[in-house]
Symmetry: C2
Subunit: 204 residues, 2 copies
């Protein structure tokens, strides 16, 4: 088994954090995404989407997509359960994963692609689209901050995959190259960020 990953990829960090929470170690291959190593013919055989992370199993099956890789390890070693145990927990965690991804991570990626100078050669940038996505994220985070007033973690009272997705998204948003940091006035989110950043897995 081999995990293809990059320290410049927030989605790779999801998997590294997940493995750290499970106490698992997997041999890693670092892919230099900045120099185009994720688009070489060899790598495209592993993941035709040209993205990291990807997990190559011993029978040569390649699993791409961070959440799919995490589900593989959850099924291999269920404890601690990061995707939930009961039907209700499983559903609530998936709901929050999707809200964080569809209302924050996806628009953040659009904002970044359409505003950062580093993408100007790859994308015909539309400044108005960057603006629309920035506003959509602000509305979502303001709502999320209020909603988080009474609980410790994104999906309830237990740490879950939804926290991993939210933390990697928030740190990505706050990074200098993305440049769309979460307002420190969102106090509940700030407290949550401090709480989950204090876990050893956050250093993965």
């Amino acid at each position: 088994m081999k995990l293809y990953q990059s320290y410049f990829s927030p989605n790779s960090r999801r998997v590294r954090m997940f493995l750290a929470e499970k106490g698992l170690e997997v041999p890693c291959v670092d892919v230099d995404i900045r120099s185009g190593q994720s688009h070489t013919p060899e790598y495209l055989k592993i993941n035709p989407m040209g993205a990291v992370p990807a997990l190559e199993l011993d029978d040569d099956t390649a699993i791409a997509e961070s959440v799919a890789i995490c589900r593989y390890f959850e099924a291999l070693q269920p404890e601690p359960r990061l995707f939930g145990s009961t039907p209700k927990e499983i559903a609530v965690i998936e709901m929050w994963q999707r809200r964080i991804e569809l209302k924050w991570f996806v628009p953040l990626t659009q904002y970044w692609l359409h505003s950062a100078p580093m993408w100007a050669y790859n994308v015909k940038q539309l400044p108005e689209l960057a603006e629309q996505n920035r506003d959509e994220i602000s509305r979502f985070l303001t709502w999320l901050d209020g909603d988080m007033a009474d609980r410790e973690y994104i999906a309830g009272d237990r740490y879950s995959m939804a926290d991993i997705i939210a933390l990697t998204t928030m740190d990505h948003a706050n990074s200098a190259h993305v440049g769309h940091p979460v307002s420190p006035e969102l106090h509940n989110l700030a407290r949550w960020h401090q709480r989950v950043s204090g876990r050893p897995s956050a250093r993965a």
Copy 2:
């Protein structure tokens, strides 16, 4: 238990098809999304995102997001397994769900929002963005069609949640109001579409 849904929502159809495949029946409440019923104060208490479907449990927990609702029913009644059984199957199905959603459904939604006259009053439409998304979808579908040459279903040799997401997306794309139909020259996709459309669940 109550399922809030709409016959105009492709994501509601995912849940209806899933329930049909499981042989389950759940009391439904039709939400008239065209007249704004998903944005009333009452409905926003159930799903603050203002979207259908949403499942209200008997303890008043509300589960939003189509895939989260389906996972709830998969956990309640595992057979037939639409999210996979073995770690590898589970991961491969999740990978394909994400590819279909992130490379087709999400850009299709962007295309639709930024091109259809019906959205012109809600969104500042950017025709160039519609074009970018249309091109992205074309590249993905051309690749997907080639990749599907040797298998019957999206995620392998068995029908899964990935087929439900892909079928509802394709029928949505082909509908007159979205107007970005899949080219009939993509023969493998056309054959797959015929195969899954023939199942009783496709009429749900």
